[in-house]
């Protein structure tokens, strides 16, 4: 005789289940499986949701977690990923796993994380008093289906298989030895394992449908067909029957195995990057007499790299120039086309309000950006526009420079991709918000590998363009 006592929290008994309930049979099969697998009690975690079946972990002496309705698989996923060394088993009901928790069920199966899910399917909501479940058979009565169920029940095993579970099996309380073997088998499987166990709720499913515990057990006995036999049956023969046994198993890699490979890949990548790119140390900030804060706005169309330019300018001023900076940018749909902008505030003292209230220097590469973002340019400010793309200049007292930025980039650098860097060079030559050296350091530190020369050339072209405009 198997002695269950060492696994029971005796002080918690008697349990809340009604007499005749099938839950005890599954619980015993689970304990025998754990014993036969030789699992250490301290390393086993049982995670359940809410429902009659989900009360099981409270009675068993393991690490036990009774979560919220429908969510045990999600809690268990976190626990297992955080502690792959623990054996994590999910105890769940059909409502818990397939209705409110259906999404987690599908995605955990898809991920193939090494969890074992024991699903107690009684075809009804037991805990809350016999309401319709997603597994209630067609035509049956439930407290919320008093005129009979008109929905098709969900097949948990088919769902799990379709979603990608590595191991899928079905047992019954009537065949408790089989159920025990399936749980052992499922726990040995490396990957997501579902063991659905058909059980009965004689009180809330049986009574309204005029079926006794015996009727329900008889149904389990007669309707459950070994899956190999079931395979050979035709549609008519299958009517009212369901397959039991190991329904699906594959050796798809388990999630944590893949994750460990991912870690190795990430580290490898980081190492290569660190080797190839010597860190450019920021130069000590040159001593400066305090200057007034400056607000710069770089604008154009999404994709012209102005957000990148804003970041580079901010780094030139903040990291390589030792000043306080705040950098902001448009966010959302605008950043993917249409007009785009990036703003940088540069100051010798702490910057309070992180958005510019007035702009000192505005660069606009397109007409739309110029029209849209020019409103708050100071009278004493400077507007730099691309000569070929901005024809109408907003009225104002500010100083205007029309520079053929894009065209010069095309001619002298070859790639209009770096018009943003040419812009920065020109703006810096005209309006010394940062030193050319700091700007160059910042550009090179941010430039993708292999584009350093291109960017250096773009900067030089930009400086020259700005200088000629200033002197010319």
């Amino acid at each position: 005789m198997f002695n269950y006592d060492k696994y029971l929290r005796m002080q918690r008994l008697p349990h809340i289940w009604c007499s005749g309930c099938g839950n005890g049979i599954i619980s015993k099969a689970l304990l025998r499986a754990i014993e036969k697998l030789g699992l250490e009690q301290d390393r086993v975690c049982l995670v359940s949701g809410i429902g009659c079946s989900s009360r099981l972990p409270g009675y068993l002496d393991f690490n036990t977690l009774h979560t919220t309705h429908g969510r045990p698989i999600a809690f268990a996923s976190g626990l297992k990923l955080g502690r792959p060394d623990l054996d994590v088993v999910v105890i769940t009901g059909d409502g818990d796993a397939l209705a409110i928790g259906g999404n987690h069920f599908v995605h955990a199966a898809r991920r193939n994380l090494n969890l074992t899910v024991v699903l107690f399917n009684n075809g009804v909501y037991g805990m809350t008093g016999g309401q319709l479940a997603p597994t209630t058979p067609f035509d049956m009565v439930a407290s919320t289906a008093p005129y009979q169920n008109i929905e098709q029940p969900l097949d948990a095993c088919k769902l799990a298989t379709a979603a990608g579970a590595g191991y899928v099996a079905r047992g019954t309380t009537y065949k408790s030895q089989l159920t025990e073997r399936l749980i052992i088998d499922g726990m040995r499987h490396r990957g997501f394992a579902l063991i659905e166990v058909m059980t009965n709720c004689n009180v809330y499913y049986g009574r309204p449908n005029k079926k006794s515990t015996l009727d329900l057990l008889r149904w389990e006995k007669e309707a459950a067909i070994d899956h190999k036999l079931f395979e050979k049956m035709d549609a008519r023969q299958r009517n009212g029957k369901f397959p039991i046994g190991r329904l699906h198993q594959d050796a798809r890699p388990e999630y944590m195995e893949l994750y460990r490979e991912l870690i190795a890949r990430a580290r490898q990548k980081a190492e290569t990057a660190a080797q190839k790119k010597p860190e450019s140390r920021p130069a000590a900030a040159p001593p400066n007499s305090p200057r007034a804060a400056v607000a710069v706005r770089l604008s154009g169309s999404g994709g012209q790299g102005l957000i990148f330019a804003g970041v580079v300018l901010a780094e030139a001023a903040g990291v390589y120039g030792g000043r306080h900076v705040v950098q902001n940018q448009v966010y959302g749909p605008e950043a993917r086309g249409g007009a785009s902008k990036s703003e940088v505030i540069i100051s010798d003292s702490e910057i309070d309000y992180p958005k510019p209230t007035e702009i000192d220097l505005h660069l606009a590469l397109t007409q739309e950006a110029c029209d849209r973002y020019c409103g708050d340019l100071k009278a004493s400010g400077t507007l730099i526009v691309d000569a070929d793309n901005v024809s109408s200049i907003p009225r104002g007292e500010f100083t205007v420079y029309r520079l053929p930025i894009v065209e010069t980039t095309r001619k002298k650098v070859g790639k209009t991709l770096v018009a943003n860097v040419v812009s920065l060079g020109a703006a810096t030559a005209l309006f010394r918000v940062v030193s050319p050296q700091a700007l160059e350091q910042a550009v090179l530190a941010r430039a993708p590998k292999g584009t350093e020369e291109l960017n250096r050339r773009a900067l030089a072209v930009g400086f020259a363009l700005g200088d000629s405009a200033r002197t010319g």
Binding site: R9, R12, D42, R43, C45, V47, G58, F62, N63, T64, L65, H66, T67, T68, R71, A74, F75, A76, S77, G78, L79, K80, L81, G82, R83, D85, L86, N103, H104, V106, H107, Y259, L262, I263, A266, R267, A270, R281, P282, V311, A314, E315, G318, V319, G322, H324, V325, V326, Q327, N328, Q329, Y331, G332, P333, I351, D352, Y353, P354, K355, T357
Partner: protein, 379 residues
């Protein structure tokens, strides 16, 4: 390997938050993408594997917070980040973490609501949800950074408070702070707190029996202290109980442990307050507009000061009460219809006039708007 260095760097708020989490010892992230918080997920996806930690993109925010709680029960510090709609979805399980006393950190980058609202626009409309989002009486800690370095520091502090008080901690980040960049020098290492482990033998362990601090020692799953964790009302053993006294004591203790820690949890910045007749109360990015306004008003000889709660929950009742007793006018400025204003009203006990500045159009409150409000207070 953490990207934490001692030289100045230009860092985005979302990144600072992620780096703070790593520095605090976080090794687990679960989340579901949502604007404007996705940059935190992206930073974690990049950095966590380098630390041997786990990043998991889950199917929804309900799973995110559930997985965070699961990982934490295994002894792994864990975080999730989201925004309005996702924060709404997390509420049931945030309550679970409060009830079962599982250290966990949730970042909510606030956006305009209700519903899908304004996904890319800043707002501060989830302040009350951070306090009372989940059902039932429960304790709450919520922190509101207002700079990039604070996004780092307060995320570290969120973990430390979560561990120390065994409770979920919420970081309320403004969209503006999450997306802007500032140069910061982030520390190489930070002070971290760990949950207190039981010292008794496993047979003697009562997982929910608390010492006078109100915070019970916590064994991780797998430590050899087999115990039960439930969201049901439970006794000292952690088992469900329908005993009225047990239920009452539990809720009283859960609320009480945060009250006991109040002094330590509360954090605020006081700016130009000594002689201030008018006190502006603002947090997050609005406090920066308020700072600019205070400087401006001071230059013109006006006695204005700023009180900036960094800890929003628990609320700084006492300090507000003192201001109300001693100062001429209190002004609250916030990007919602007046969520902290109501707390200020409560804490000030009717002892001084209160003015409110609220903005809910998806843009930030400007220094100019605050100056206008100050002018109103001075007539």
């Amino acid at each position: 390997m953490t990207e934490v260095t001692t030289s100045p760097r230009l860092v985005q708020g979302a990144e600072a938050c992620a780096e703070g989490a790593l520095a605090a010892g976080c090794r687990f992230y679960a989340g579901y993408p949502i604007t404007p918080s996705s940059e935190i997920a992206e930073a974690m996806a990049r950095m966590l594997p380098l630390e041997g930690g786990v990043f998991l993109q889950v199917e929804d925010e309900i799973a995110a917070i559930a997985a965070v709680i699961g990982a934490s029960l295994g002894g792994v510090k864990a975080i999730t980040a989201t925004s309005g709609p996702g924060f709404s979805l997390m509420q049931e399980n945030i309550g679970f973490a409060a009830m079962a006393e599982v250290p966990s950190v949730v970042v909510n980058v606030m956006r305009g609501g209700p519903s899908t609202g304004q996904p890319t626009a800043p707002a501060q409309a989830d302040v009350m949800q951070a306090r009372w989002g989940t059902h039932g009486d429960h304790p709450a800690i919520a922190l509101a950074p207002s700079s990039i370095s604070e996004a780092f520091d307060e995320t570290v502090r969120a973990f430390n408070l979560a561990e120390k008080y065994r409770t979920p901690v919420i970081v309320l980040l403004d969209e503006l702070i999450a997306h802007m960049r500032e140069t910061v020098v982030l520390p190489d290492s930070v002070e971290t707190s760990q949950r207190v482990k039981p010292t008794v033998a496993p047979e003697a362990y009562l997982p929910y029996a608390a010492p006078s601090s109100g915070v019970p020692p916590m064994a991780n799953f797998g430590d050899g202290y087999r115990h039960h964790v439930t969201g049901l009302s439970h006794d000292e053993h952690g088992f469900p109980s329908e005993d009225r006294a047990v239920a009452g004591d539990l809720i009283t203790r859960l609320m009480g442990k945060i009250e006991l820690g109040r002094e330590e949890i509360l954090k605020a910045e006081e700016f130009c307050l000594e002689d201030a007749e008018i006190v502006i109360i603002a947090y997050g990015c609005v406090a920066r507009a308020a700072r600019a306004a205070v400087r401006n008003a001071r230059e013109r000889g006006q006695r204005i000061g700023l009180f900036r709660p960094i800890t929003l929950w628990p609320f700084a009742d006492e300090r507000i009460g003192e201001f109300a007793a001693q100062r001429r006018t209190l002004i609250t400025a916030e990007m919602n219809m007046g969520q902290i204003a109501l707390e200020v009203e409560r804490a000030s006990g009717g002892n001084c006039p209160l003015l409110r500045l609220n903005r809910v159009d998806g843009d930030t409150i400007t220094p100019g708007q605050i100056l206008d409000k100050i002018a109103e207070a001075r007539v």
